[in-house]
């Protein structure tokens, strides 16, 4: 389990403590030894909340992974699941099987975060509702790291934007309330986008329902909450990520804060799951760096480590040796972490095929520049389709092109679609409807003007894709564009920056009238501009007085954006905590859309 670094205030581990004790209470409701059967996707999440030791202290016998067919011996059983129909069916089949065999067991179902009537319905229909005790474990945000909170709902983006399933909005609102309970009331609330505004409305309702008044809060550890819809900036998550952390997610996939490292990569006997967050001393240093710069730091660390080991060899005095030995566990940890990351980055390099990747980045940049001539880009996408490298790449580029240029010309669009079907199979027919529905793809027919994209306007006004005289200059950028190697300033993060600096969304809205969705800003009082605060802080220069801002992405955010916002936090001398419904990458976002059939 992750142990927090002491530096961060407010400490996000409070959230974990809070939900952990709630789980403890639920487990204590049935005394005696018990088995816990947990849904696969919640298993890794549990690592962030409760250790096996904690569960054992609440009389857990064994922890099982929920499977259709399984043997669980004990007489008290807890199922921990999301309120989904599938898991309700599985549990029902277990219970019915036990009943047929005449086994009597105390069943508990813990729904995370809440029970829904559809599950009751299944349990009732299968005739087991009377056999189970139902609990609700209000697990919302999970502190994945000292600056990341996530609901970890893997299909959040699709649920919200594709299926119109707003179940999550309630969870988001509840999670904000939970944060307020732990860290005190949040004075300033800014929202952008339809969903965020809905959540703002919901929050108001919940506060009224729980009779929470503004004065009721003692402390105010978080000064501001900025909530932003993913649909406000769909471009950024489709760009190839270039920071170490982002690249890791793009290629190996970071799942609930862990990466899965195969035995082929590590050279160990088995596959391992490695926690990648600030508790990893090496990862902490390189996560936010451009991938290309990571090897430099890694080799420096290797040299340092060697030096530290050598210092042991040179030790003569017993006391020196003693000191060295006491350092050994830490050195070993560092060593292990270093070797993992060296191997992992090696793996990424081979997987990415540098030359291809460079060429692809070139085209990506061309797309972001919003050039009028799209011929070569279309040709490149066609090549990708025909060479069938991956099914995602051509889709990703098509979506990017559509988003930046306000749609793809009908004749290209039809031909790309047909070629894609012929190349990857006609079952992808619905993929295109899905993408269109999500707003990622758009067919441009008829008159040009109505297809002006807001991205183009932002690009022009904010210089999202800066031009550089040379590649050296590009590498030395000192703004958030560094996460894309200086090639692109992520739009969503720029919006966040603007709202932090201006106290409202007006500056952004002035640039593009077409910018998606309504906004919520605190009426009357606008937050003090950061510039003023900065000067005050200059005198104190302590971390204590820094304000904490939570940026909440509804519908997911990428690691690159988290990296960029961390950078922004340093720039503005404030602490930025990123909260999100889920962490996405172009791969995870598109994968389930493309393979939905």
């Amino acid at each position: 389990m992750a142990t927090p670094g002491p530096s961060a205030t407010p400490d996000l581990q409070l959230v974990a403590q809070y939900v952990r004790s709630e789980l403890g209470d639920i487990l204590d409701k049935t005394p005696g030894p018990k088995d816990i059967v947990i849904q696969q996707e919640l298993m890794t999440l549990l690592n962030h909340i409760a250790s096996v030791k904690f569960l054992k202290s609440h009389e857990m016998d064994k922890l099982y992974r929920l499977a259709p067919q399984m043997r669980v011996p004990g007489y008290n059983r807890y199922y921990i699941v999301r309120p989904e129909i599938g898991s309700a069916y599985t549990i029902s089949s277990h219970i019915n099987k036990d009943m047929r065999e005449g086994v009597r067991i105390n069943y508990n179902i813990v729904f995370v975060p809440r029970n829904l009537a559809c599950c009751d319905y299944i349990l009732e229909r299968e005739g087991v509702l009377g056999q189970v005790l139902i609990h609700e474990w209000n697990l919302y945000l999970i502190p994945l790291d000292e600056h990341i909170l996530s609901l970890e709902i893997p299909d959040a983006t699709q649920a919200l934007y594709l299926h119109g399933d707003y179940t999550l909005l309630h969870s988001v609102a509840q999670s904000v309330l939970q944060l307020e309970v732990l860290y005190g009331g949040i004075k300033t609330f800014q929202a952008k986008g339809v969903l965020s505004c809905k959540i703002s409305d919901l929050l108001g309702r919940l506060r009224e329902a729980y009779c929470i008044k503004d004065e009721a809060w003692g402390s105010h550890d978080v000064s501001e909450l900025i909530m932003i819809d993913r649909s406000v900036d769909l471009v950024t998550p489709l760009c190839s990520q270039m920071t170490y952390e982002g690249m890791l997610d793009d290629t190996l996939g970071i799942c609930n804060g862990f990466i899965h490292v195969t035995k082929a990569t590590t050279g160990r006997l088995t596959d391992t799951k490695v926690l990648v967050n600030s508790t990893d001393p090496v990862f902490k240093l390189i996560r936010g760096l451009l991938f290309s710069k990571a090897p430099i730091v890694l080799s420096r660390l290797t040299r340092e480590l060697k030096g530290e080991y050598d210092s042991g060899k040179g030790a003569r005095e017993i006391s020196d040796l003693k000191a060295f030995v006491s350092q050994l566990p830490e050195l070993k940890k560092k060593h292990e972490s270093l070797s993992t990351h060296l191997r992992v980055s090696e793996k990424i390099v081979t997987q990415k095929k540098v030359e291809d990747f460079k060429r692809q980045l070139g085209y990506e940049r061309a797309i972001l520049e919003c050039q009028d001539a799209t011929g070569p880009i279309i040709e490149y996408i066609e090549e990708c389709i025909q060479r069938q490298v991956t099914s995602l790449l051509p889709i990703r580029l098509l979506c990017l092109l559509s988003l930046t240029s306000g749609g793809i010309k009908s004749k290209y669009y039809q031909s790309m679609k047909l070629q894609y079907l012929q190349s990857y199979g006609y079952n992808h027919l619905s993929t295109f409807y899905t993408l269109e529905q999500l707003g990622l793809l758009r067919e441009r027919t008829g008159d040009q003007l109505s297809y002006q994209s807001s991205f183009k306007q932002f690009n022009k006004a904010l210089r999202l894709v800066p031009k550089y005289a040379s590649s050296e200059e590009m590498e030395k950028v000192t703004d958030m564009s560094y996460v894309f190697g200086g090639a692109y300033l992520p739009l969503g993060c720029m919006a966040v920056k603007s709202v932090i600096e201006n106290g409202n969304w007006k500056a952004m809205e002035d640039i593009s009238k077409m910018w998606k969705g309504p906004t919520v800003s605190p009426s009357g009082t606008s937050a003090a501009p950061v510039g003023v605060k900065k000067k005050e802080k200059g005198a104190k220069s302590s971390n204590q007085g820094r304000r904490t801002i939570i940026v909440y992405f509804v519908g997911g955010c990428t690691f690159s954006e988290i990296n960029a916002l961390q950078y922004l936090g340093q720039e503005l001398n404030c602490r930025i905590v990123v909260a999100t419904t889920n962490i996405i990458s172009a791969t995870t976002l598109l994968e389930c859309l493309v393979n939905s059939n």
Binding site: I85, G86, R114, N115, L116, A117, C118, Y121, I122, H163, G164, D165, Y166, T167, L169, H170, A173, K198, D201, L202, R205, E208, A209, C211, E355, R359, E382, E383, Q386, R387, Q388, Q414, S415, K417, L418, Q419, L421, Q422, S423, Y424, G425, Y426, N427, L429, S430, Y433, S471, N597
Partner: protein
């Protein structure tokens, strides 16, 4: 903060003396202690208690009277009064013969009938429930019944016991919990079953049992067994006990026989502190006996009331008519034809201050104040100086003494003394003392207001504290004294959730039953009151009460004000406001609630109506679709079609055509899908599906698996040297040149037929450029072949292709020719290990930059 009443007139010293005199005038010495008889109310109700069954309830609760029935099943009436004789309600009685009336702890009236049934009413005479106590009793019939309440430390417990005609005993408890929760316990049989019991009484300790006497023998009947107790009494002749009384805490018992001989002691009958003979002239027919506190009990024999203290001490009061007694925690309530009285021991608290000649600091402070009031301030000063060190104690004693008093004037006088003393303490005063003062003032003000005869609850401060303010407010609510309850809540600063909210909630629940007002009036009144109080009271609950009272319009009106969707929506469903229910659920954004409504509606409505309902509510529809997707796809398809979502249904049919096992079903699904897309006027999809079907047959003919794509099929043909089939596919599916060329190149490279590839490249100018040839060769790691095509590629692309086949000098050359300095740099980095190249690049760069 001053006394209970603000009075500007200055009390004269004489008046104070009067007050003290009147405060102690009714004290009667009883050995070491004093008893005081105080009349709370004069009754002018024209009732002769001798003709009635009387039931009083503890903690100054209500009182029920019923004319004694001579025969079974006579029409009669039960009337409920306050202790001040004010009628609360009347119950018309047509049932069987009532043996006894009594009250439960929650102030519900219990009628125990001869036929073994019990009927429960609330104080307003509303029927709550009735039940047969136990089948056996129905046949044996009830002979006697006795109510009991047990109060000790923090436990309060009550019920009744019955004795049947065949001398069996039953204990009945938990009456307030409802009809089916009543607990009944049969006790062990009386060993002397043949002889008639003299007297009996329930006894509560760890468990409830009954003390029964048969002549001089005393039995204790518990659930398990009967125990005989020998009482060592000094009386010579054999006694025959005729009355027994047990104290409220179950620790003391008193017995008396026909000749007036008494024995009182512990309930284990081991030790006695009182044996006394009243030496009555004649045998008495009836004795009433109740314990006060542990050191005295009250008896009424004929027209005389005795108060019996410990040992030999006793005193008596004349009674001018019939009366009833009821034990309270701090005394005995006496009801007569003309008054409601209370007799109790004068507590030490009062003695400390008011007893004549006492030298306690409190008494001296009281004297000091009296002197001060009488303008004898030097005397006052002297008194105060005398108790200087004990001033805190003095103040505290005065406060405590005030709390014991019924008469506001006396209370006020004592509190003024306390306040006077407080003044001398100045800033050194302990906060506890200030609190006690303020608290007592508040409490007395509350008690005085409920003691007024129009309310009629003569509760003492000790009883009140024993009940706790919360329970007390509950009682007021139960009595319908909402206004008073509200004021008290505010005055005592009870938190809204336990006070105001509770009162208003109950008030509103009652109000909706008030048929004298129109729906609109009631609604308006409730809304105004709740709004003014600025508290959150569940409108849902009130609306439900209105619905139960069959006032649907009122319910609907009230429900509109509910802010908790959870409380609102289920009721809306019940009221058949389906559409509003769904709307409110959606508005609340609570998925749990939406699911709940959806499920209810699904069960309730026809499919058609249900779909209509969903039509305007995409949020709800989305949730329903999600459920259907996993449970009932056919239903989902029906919904899609109903909503003209042809693309959705088309995609779904199409998806099913891939998963269905049966070939016929697959074909059917494909056909269905095509139809849907045609309805959606989606030409592209219609054609795509057609092509898909065609392709499937073609690939199967070729011997490939069904899911093979067109590209895969063409490549397969190339690889298997079937150019004619490849050509055919190209024609059939109108493949573009680009597509076809890519497939050819990939196929040929896959099988390593580079000669054929070369030939193919020369057929005509490749539409995808020679770069493609080079690229594919490179991915197949064949740099030699790739090198053949690079010179034919466009100039600007050559250098990076050369780079990739690691021919650095050519790469440098190509970059130089296109004047690409960045390209040259790249070459230099790649070829860092070959000095010649690095050198070459440097020269080239110099040349380019030089010009």
């Amino acid at each position: 903060d001053s006394g209970p009443d603000k009075d500007t007139t200055v009390d004269m010293a004489e008046r104070a003396a009067d007050i003290q005199a009147s405060a102690t005038a009714d004290w009667n010495p009883l050995g070491e202690i004093y008893v005081k008889r105080y009349s709370n109310y004069e009754l002018d109700w024209g009732i002769n208690l001798a003709d009635y069954l009387v039931a009083m309830s503890p903690f100054a609760g209500p009182l029920a009277l019923m004319p004694k029935q001579r025969q079974t099943s006579m029409k009669s009436e039960i009337t409920i009064y306050t202790l001040a004789g004010k009628k609360i309600s009347t119950i018309t009685w047509e049932g069987g013969r009532v043996i006894e009336l009594g009250w439960t702890l929650s102030e519900n009236l219990v009628c125990v009938l001869e036929d073994g049934s019990m009927i429960i009413y609330d104080i307003f005479g509303q029927f709550l429930y009735s039940r047969i106590i136990q089948r056996e009793i129905q046949t044996s019939r009830v002979q006697e019944c006795k109510f009991f309440s047990y109060t000790d430390k923090d436990k309060v417990f009550g019920g009744f016991a019955v004795m049947t005609c065949n001398t069996e005993f039953y204990i009945i408890v938990d009456i307030d919990k409802g009809k089916d929760e009543v607990r009944i316990k049969k006790l062990a049989a009386l060993p002397d079953a043949s002889s008639k019991p003299g007297c009996w009484a329930p006894l509560c300790k760890e468990s409830t049992s009954v003390i029964v006497t048969v002549e001089d023998r005393v039995y204790l009947l518990s659930h398990l067994d009967a125990t005989l107790y020998e009482i060592n009494c000094g009386k010579k002749s054999a006694t025959c006990w005729m009355e027994v009384a047990v104290s409220l805490n179950g620790k003391a018992v008193a017995l008396i026989d026909r000749e007036g001989y008494m024995w009182a002691g512990t309930t284990d009958f081991k030790s006695s502190d009182t044996e006394f003979d009243l030496q009555l002239k004649q045998k008495v027919a009836r004795v009433q006996m109740q314990w006060g506190e542990m050191d005295y009990f009250v008896l009424v024999i004929d027209r005389i009331m005795f108060v019996k203290g410990l040992g030999k001490h006793w005193c008596k009061y004349p009674m001018n008519g019939p009366c009833c007694l009821l034990a309270e925690v701090d005394g005995v309530r006496i009801l007569t034809n003309t008054a409601c009285e209370f007799i109790h021991r004068v507590s030490t608290k009062s003695l400390n201050v008011l007893r004549i000649g006492v030298m306690e600091p409190g008494a001296l402070l009281n004297d000091a104040y009296k002197e001060y009031e009488g303008d004898e301030s030097h005397k006052a000063d002297e008194f105060v100086r005398f108790i200087k060190d004990k001033l805190s104690i003095a103040v505290s004693q005065c406060i405590e003494a005030a709390g014991e008093e019924f008469v506001p004037k006396v209370q006020k006088s004592l509190l003024k003394s306390a306040n006077f003393g407080k003044g001398f303490l100045g800033s050194e005063i302990q906060p506890d003392l200030v609190n006690a003062f303020v608290e007592t003032c508040r409490e007395l003000r509350v008690l005085n207001s409920v003691r007024l005869s129009k309310i009629g609850i003569p509760i003492t401060l000790r009883q009140y504290r024993r009940l706790s303010s919360g329970v007390f407010v509950d009682r007021l609510i139960y009595h319908g004294l909402y206004h008073l309850a509200l004021e008290i809540c505010e005055f005592l600063k009870i938190p809204p959730s336990e006070g105001t909210v509770k009162v208003l909630r109950n008030w509103a629940l009652k109000k909706v039953q008030d048929k004298s007002m129109s729906d609109a009036e009631v609604a308006q009144k409730i809304k105004k009151k709740l709004k003014d109080a600025n508290v959150v009271v569940s409108y849902g609950e009130i609306a439900r009460a209105a619905m139960d009272a069959k006032r649907l319009t009122l319910a609907a009106d009230l429900l509109r004000n509910e802010i908790f969707a959870q409380d609102q929506v289920p009721l809306l469903l019940e009221m058949d406001s389906d559409s509003t229910a769904l709307e409110k659920a959606v508005e609340s954004g609570d998925p749990k609630l939406i699911h709940q409504v959806l499920r209810q509606l699904k069960l309730k409505l026809t499919t058609e109506r249900y779909y209509q309902m969903l039509h305007f509510r995409p949020v709800a529809a989305a949730l329903y679709c999600k459920v259907l997707k996993e449970t009932d796809q056919e239903q989902l398809l029906r919904l899609y079609r109903q909503e003209s979502l042809f693309v959705e249904s088309g995609c779904m049919y199409f998806a099913q055509s891939f998963t269905a096992r049966d070939t016929d079903i697959r074909k059917q699904r494909l056909f269905d899908a095509q139809k849907e897309f045609r309805d959606a006027q989606d030409i592209f999809a219609t054609k795509a599906i057609e092509e898909h079907a065609k392709l499937t047959t073609e690939v199967v003919k070729l011997g490939l698996k069904e899911t093979a794509t067109l590209s895969e099929a063409v490549i397969w043909c190339v690889k298997n040297r079937q150019p004619r089939q490849a050509e055919q596919l190209r024609k059939d599916f109108k493949m573009t040149d680009h597509q076809y060329w890519w497939a050819m190149i990939r196929g040929l490279c896959d099988i390593g037929d580079y000669a054929e590839l070369d030939r193919f490249s020369k057929q005509k100018k490749p539409p995808i450029g020679f770069e493609a040839f080079a690229e594919v060769c490179i991915t197949h790691d064949n740099y030699r072949e790739a090198a053949k095509y690079i010179p034919k590629a466009a100039f600007e692309n050559r250098y990076h292709l050369y780079l990739r086949i690691q021919d650095y000098s050519k790469a440098a050359d190509a970059a130089f020719q296109t004047r690409n300095i960045g390209g040259l740099d790249e070459v230099a980095i790649k070829a860092a290990r070959t000095p010649e190249i690095v050198d070459l690049v440097r020269q080239m760069k110099a040349k380019l930059e030089g010009r």
